[in-house]
Symmetry: C2
Subunit: 372 residues, 2 copies
């Protein structure tokens, strides 16, 4: 893996970069659509390619339970299994164990939990999370971490962060033993909303040494402003020459705000999940397609949008599909929302290239105020 | 509308034809995928076009209830509403009233029923079923008919058939009053499994005069052999120069058998519904994709198939998508099954062109025996 910083913005921390991975080159800042179970829900790989998706995220947790790492490995890893030949990132599963399992048990060694599908007991350790992700074969893999509930006391946040840092060291060790070809392991900064803990965490990760650094434990319920502050506090501790990945974020406005604070990579279920719920992004905010006002509305979702759905379909038809519970509602809505996100990233990259990212930030903030 | 018989097979009743409709030309024999609610479940119109779908069937019943004919008409009829620019056929809704409504009341005037969605009472008459289908704007529309349960006594079948023939006359009258541009009304032969009744029905329809004739009331539970016999009995009563449409049929074998008995047009939910249930057609019968034997099977659904799904995806991946309840399972399975049906029709047309359709019939029968 190689990361180039192509250029920095004039008045913000935004930077334009290029990430060279085993399955291709990724222009950053980049948004990674989420393909939880080795599929971005409702999308064929051809549709994802025509949307210019550069890199996907898949969830190790779900794939560990079904179809299992052996099956994926036998079919040639995730790339062969889902027939996606561009880069993939897998998370460690730590977050899903935290969010989907009531009966998990965390110790210093790792976490045991029961499958949300059939109750089978599984154990995830830093070491076997590396084995799992090496079997899945993504270009970028993530260390197992201990996920913290929000809000958390400084004591709880410190304990959890230090455990995660120990695990990061064990992941790194196991990863170096395995030496998987074409894969890179990132580190994840933890520490809740506490600047000292975040700084300590970043320091420990940099000491271990990773080719990229994620900021974890955000977008878990804290106000946006608090999230932005944490990024501002963490950013100076992260090496300039390594990509920074903000996990699980966020709204289109979040993307712009966080790029301005130095973030290079994002993933979020928001565009795809909201699409299936009929929440569609537009330049002026969003529309909820089920609303009766769209029953006979001949206009596209967003008159300013150049996506294939807006080029063709009316709100009336999309509302009908949604009300009728049709699969095509999910498909078309997902195409639109992903296009919106990827187009936002494209504009972000262009504004940085012109070293005028502050203008995009100002536009986005003005529009947000106009809507309130 | 204009129908040409391009050629007849040498040793069967099969014929190769061409149907000129307002929205394009249809090569017959043809299979019409079902787009119940103005969408073939899971398919974009681009995907349908790339599968070479020539003509779709939509259900008036469902569209009457939701979004309603006014909405569809305002958006430019079904073609404008769903952005499908090739031909469409709508049924009258009579069959859905029969199959989806426990509390329907049929009289000589028409049928009243409660919406299966919200209980609202609706009335369908021969006249307003024409108004409805003219609002929807399909190239081919169908008269309201009285649907008969199977089995039925000769008396019940006679009553129902004669009522349907009265309605066909009223539909024809209303249709001629409306004179909708670019639309054609077919007749539907009824009469259950009784040759005399079928003959009487065909005679009455021919007397009224339609540009095409459907055979209704089949594929409702009778054995295949009985269905084939009815077609053989009806066929001589239908004008040679008009297309014949067998409603709601059937398996790939049924298509071949019925083409050999003179049928030109088919529609059926089987390829699309079976796809969503994981039942996938192959040259050697079918596979049920959820079976454990496919868990790590690297082969495509059908090694002889040239569809885009078989060109790319393994049974293992398709099984995973199905087991995980993923939308993409429905999408990919539907592409495959529709390709299989449309490819079967393509082969049917080729064998007729070579005047050797009996050879295809023999192949299909031999394969069916080999499987049992």
């Amino acid at each position: 893996m190689r990361f180039e910083v192509l250029g920095n913005d004039a008045r913000t921390r935004a930077r334009r970069g290029r990430l060279h991975l085993a399955h291709g080159t990724v222009e950053t800042p980049v948004f990674m659509p989420v393909g939880t179970q080795a599929t971005v829900k409702g999308m064929t790989t051809e549709q994802l390619q025509s949307l210019s998706v550069q890199i996907l995220l898949c969830n190790s947790y779900h794939l560990m339970l079904r179809p299992g790492p052996e099956t994926v490995a036998k079919l040639g890893g995730l790339h062969g299994f889902m027939k996606w030949d561009r880069p993939i990132l897998t998370d460690s599963g730590g977050y899903q164990v935290f969010s989907l399992n009531k009966f998990r048990k965390v110790s210093d060694d790792g976490v045991t939990f029961q499958s949300h599908l059939d109750g089978t007991t599984y154990a995830l350790t830093p070491e076997n999370s590396m084995d799992l992700q090496v079997a899945l074969g993504a270009d970028i893999i993530m260390p197992l971490d201990d996920c913290l509930a929000y809000p958390a006391t400084p004591e709880a946040a410190a304990l959890s962060m230090r455990r995660s840092m120990d695990w990061a060291g064990r992941c790194s060790k196991r990863f170096r033993e395995l030496m998987p070809e074409g894969q890179s392991l990132f580190g994840i900064v933890q520490g809740g909303v506490y600047p000292d803990l975040r700084k300590e965490s970043a320091g420990r990760l940099v000491e271990i040494g990773f080719p990229g650094y994620a900021i974890g434990g955000l977008a878990v319920g804290e106000p946006n402003t608090e999230m932005y502050e944490v990024i501002e506090q963490v950013e100076p501790s992260l090496p300039e020459d390594r990509p920074r990945y903000l996990m699980g974020v966020g709204t289109p406005e979040d993307l712009v705000e966080c790029v301005g604070r130095g973030v290079d990579m994002f993933d979020c279920v928001m565009p795809t999940r909201h699409a299936r719920n009929g929440w569609l992004f537009t330049a002026d905010g969003h529309i909820v397609i089920k609303h009766a006002e769209y029953k006979a509305d001949e206009r596209p979702i967003d008159e300013a949008c150049r996506c294939p759905v807006c080029a063709k379909h009316s709100r009336a038809y999309l509302r009908h599909l949604f009300m009728a519970g049709e699969i095509l509602a999910s498909v078309l809505n997902t195409i639109h929302n992903l296009y919106f996100y990827l187009d936002t990233m494209e504009r972000i990259r262009q504004f940085i290239e012109f070293r005028r990212f502050d203008e995009l930030l100002a536009q986005v903030r003005k529009r947000a105020i106009r809507r309130t």
